[in-house]
Each structure stands twice: as C-alpha cells, then as structure tokens.
Amino acid sequence: MNPQPSDPWREPGPDPGVLNAAQRGELVALFSMLRAHRLELWRVCLALTLDHRRAERLFHETLVRAAKNLRTLPPGSPILHWLTRLATHLAVAWTRQEGPRRPGEPTGDWPGGGAESPLAGDPRLLAALADVSVPDRLLLALAVVERLGYGDVARVTKIETLEVVRRLTRLRARLAGEAAA
C-alpha cells in the first residue's frame, strides 16, 4: 500500500531470548529492545501531546511503564505496537485529568509536565489538531506521519480496519475544513 513503510512498525515480536532476559530484569536486554524504537515512539508522543515538553514527559514515562510492566507484553507482539498503546493510554489518562485545553493555554498541568513548548508550525492546523481526541491523533500520526497502511494502523491500535478508514476520512475532512476557515 505505502511505498515506504516504516520498518520498525512491521517488525515481529522481540527475540524470545532477549525478551526473557529483559523480563528477568536484565537492563542491558531491556535497553537493547527499547533502543531500536525510540525515534518512532518519540514521534507518536509528539503527535499525542502536540508539545515538546509534554512529549518528552510522555516518552520517558512510557518507557518507564514499559520497563516495569514488561511481563505483560503479549508473546509475539511487536514491542513498538505495545509501546504505542502504552503511550496512548497514558496520554488519554493525563488529558482527562487535565481537562480540555489548547496548546499555549495556561490551564492545568500534566503530572510533572512543567513548562510548555508547543510545536512550531501552522497555528491553525495546530489548533485544529488540539481539538482532535488523543486516539484520533494517534490514527493521524500512524497513517500520515508514519505512513502505515490501514491494516497496520488497525493492528497497532486494535481497531477494525473499516473503522480506521472511516475515522481517517472524517478527520481529514474536518482538519481541512478548520484549516480553511
């Protein structure tokens, strides 16, 4: 489907030996598993937060949660998919805790969020993205930024493929309308 699929997204699950070592608590094995996916995870965190500082916080917290809960990683499941779902759950929880906001608004703060550093870019597009829910932002990040096919997006998010297509269509129409307004 896509001419340049992102390879880390299509990698199979981690090597069983490395996974077992990491689950036993060996930090070297854990780091070797997580290191290969840090850039993709960073982009996901950036899309989920639309803020550099918050993305940094989410990035670190996701990796810490992954290290703590490595035993819950489904066998054979790609670790990047699992990390992405972890980050999404965290972002959803923190966003609910904070309440609705737009980038730059001096409203509530994420747990340990600190100072804000909104993304550079078209402010209208940024405002439109801020109105999109966190799970929908993940769909956009996977389909548009990571250039994953609908089937891959469905596998990462565990959403039906048709639902992915429907949501992406609606999101693109909405963003184009808000950007043009």
Binding site: N2, W42, Y150
Partner: protein, 375 residues
C-alpha cells in the same frame, strides 16, 4: 464519473483505493476542479501535519531515556519511590523546620566478615563522577588487605544509553572469599620451602621499611591518620557488576596495607549509596555499622539552574562538606541518602554558592537551586 467521495479520496491519498482504479480517480481529479481542490487541500494538510509532527526532540531526550528507566527500575527494585523531577517542593524555612531526628550510624563502607583488602590511594581519574573522603580505620585488624572492586552505576549516573551500563570503581574495602588467600600466600606456595626464601624476604622487608618506621611511630602516637577513598570511572565496559570477592582476589590491585574487618556485604553498594554513606559518615564523624536498611533510604533529587532558568552542568553537590554528586547536562542530580537533617551546598564555577538545610524523611525529596552569578 461521479465526484470522488471523501472515503475514496482518503484511500486515494493513502494509496489504498479499492474498487476504483487509481488511473480513473486520477483522471477525474484532473477534470474536476472541485475534487481537485479538495484533494490539494487534504494533501497540503497531510504535508503540514507530517512536517509538524516529525520535529526531532532536543538533543539529550533520546539519550537520557535509559538513565531515566534505569533510575526508575532500580528505585522500584529497592522499594524506593520513583523520583518525580518536575514535582519540585521547596524546603521549609529554618524556623519551621522540625527538630532534627537522631541520625542512625552508618558505616563506610560496610564491613565484610572475612578478610578484607584495603586499596592504596590514587588520584581520581579525569571525568570521575564524584569523589569522597572516607573515615580512617580505628585500628588495624588481622587478615585484612587492600583491594578494588567495581559497582554498577546508580541514580547519580545519567549518561548516554550507549555508555550504560558502565561500572564504577570504588577503592575501599572488599570481602575476600573464605577459601582465598592473599598474594603473599600464593607467592609463598610458588617459591617453595620457607627456609629458602624467608630470610631473603625478611632482609628485603627490613631494608624497605626501615626509612618509614619513624613515620609510622609518629602516626600511631599522634593523630589518627585520615584515609581517602576515591570513586572514579572504570575503563572497563560491558560488565554491570563485579563481585567484591572476585575483584578483591586480584593480586595486581592489592597494596598490602592492613585495615580492620568490616561487616559482611553481599555485593558492593551502588555509587550513589557509597557517596551518601560517605557523606553520612562525614556528618557523624564516625564509621559505625549501618543501622538503617539501605532499601529505606530516600532519594534526594533536584536541579540547579541559574537566574535565567538555564541548567548548570557540573555543579558540585556537597552534603555535609563532602562532594557527593555533580549535576548532569540538564542540571539535575539524584542521590540516595539516609533520612535526617542535612546541609546541602551547591557550588558552580561563575556562580555564587548556595546552602540549604533539608530534612529527609522516608519519601523522595526534590529541590531546586537558583544560583546567582558571582560578582
């Protein structure tokens, strides 16, 4: 042909069009201004979104994650709360501080039961994370000798992930296995009967030690000599931990000096704990055995900034007059320390030093220092 539906346009954009050939859709887009305008708007939106959400992180974000994870995992294993650097809590003013609780005695370093080694003094290597001054042994004990052992980095290390884990070498006491013997014993086994080499060894020893006998007599009759323990980075890489018994049995690092036996320690302590323990002893002025379990030590975390809120790297964190840590590139530091009232001092070149009295309880304490420029 009819106009392309939003879904068909979305699928065409993602090269996932089904049911309608791509050529037919492309032909329609060329001939239909309305669909073409919609397609161009969506395409430009995708491009802008792709550019916006692909912004790289700051330089050290992708490099510091392993240190952060290591700190969190280690703290959890030791039953300590994971530090939250952003939840800064400023300390209470001195007038509101409660009376300092009695600080339990903490030994430096832990004393093995068996024979121990004591290392010679060496200059700390360049780039060493920290150094500390230990307490002199009260009296020599039999069956002790010097040694060097390596420990894994702990909270104070926030280095790049490619460098982790890097062992840290601590010169101090290390327990020898019960069955092991010193290098003199092994040398004796190799040389054969005692009657052959013993007179030569005695003569050599007398000649060598004769000039320093007056000095030893002076020291034993005068003030108790101070002994310095250094913490420095080790050149070895790839190993996370090395047992004290193993490294202590290496004859190349033995110095032959005699030191008292210290309580048993199953494995070498992490660097942060070693520094904190040194600081604790500096507070109390004694090297008694540890009365507080290491797992209950709270973490003392914080950051050092200048008046422009910029991080100060390499600031010296001094606890009770002992440098126990230095700040990293983000101006942050973290160390484990026994609970109690502590005097924390921060010094950085070009900035005025700052001193703060903190009271460490059972939980992690975080603090922030704002250093003014030196006048």
């Amino acid at each position: 042909m009819k106009h392309l539906t939003s879904r068909k346009l979305c699928e065409f954009l993602d090269d996932a069009l089904e049911g309608v050939p791509d050529e037919e859709a492309a032909l329609h887009l060329r001939s239909c201004p309305m669909c073409r305008a919609r397609y161009e708007a969506w395409t430009s939106g995708d491009e802008a979104m792709r550019e916006m959400l692909s912004q790289p992180p700051e330089e050290d974000v992708l490099e510091q994650w392993s240190s952060w994870v290591e700190l969190a995992v280690t703290a959890e294993r030791k039953g300590l709360p994971v530090p939250e650097f952003a939840e800064l809590r400023l300390p209470l003013p001195p007038s509101l501080l409660p009376p300092a609780p009695e600080v339990p005695r903490v030994g430096v370093p832990p004393r093995p039961q068996g024979p121990v080694r004591f290392a010679t003094l060496e200059e700390p290597r360049r780039g060493a994370p920290a150094s500390y001054v230990g307490q002199a042994p009260a009296a020599p004990a039999p069956n002790t000798t010097g040694g060097i052992y390596e420990i894994a980095p702990y909270a104070a290390s926030r280095r790049a992930p490619t460098e982790l884990p890097r062992p840290v070498t601590v010169r101090g006491y290390a327990r020898l296995p019960d069955s092991s013997s010193g290098w003199l014993d092994r040398l004796a086994q190799g040389l054969g009967p005692t009657s052959v080499w013993a007179p030569i060894a005695i003569l050599f020893g007398v000649l060598v030690t004769a000039p320093i006998v007056p000095v030893i007599i002076h020291l034993t009759q005068g003030a108790r000599p101070a002994v310095h323990d250094d913490v420095s980075s080790s050149a070895g890489a790839g190993t996370t931990e090395r047992s004290a018994a193993t490294s202590a049995s290496e004859p190349s690092v033995a110095s032959g000096r005699v030191a008292p036996a210290v309580p048993a320690q199953p494995s070498p302590p992490p660097a942060a704990e070693a520094r904190a323990r040194a600081a604790s002893d500096a507070v109390q002025g004694e090297s008694a055995a540890a009365a507080l379990p290491q797992g209950t030590w709270p973490l003392l975390c914080g950051e050092v900034l200048d008046t422009h809120r910029a991080a100060i790297e390499g600031a010296r964190i001094t606890l009770a007059g002992v440098v126990v840590a230095r700040t990293d590139r983000r101006g942050r530091f973290s160390l484990a320390c026994p609970p109690g009232k502590r005097v924390l001092r921060v010094e950085a070149p070009g900035h005025a030093p700052a001193t703060r009295v903190i009271v460490l309880g059972s939980k992690t304490l975080e603090t922030r220092f704002l250093l003014e420029s030196a006048k």
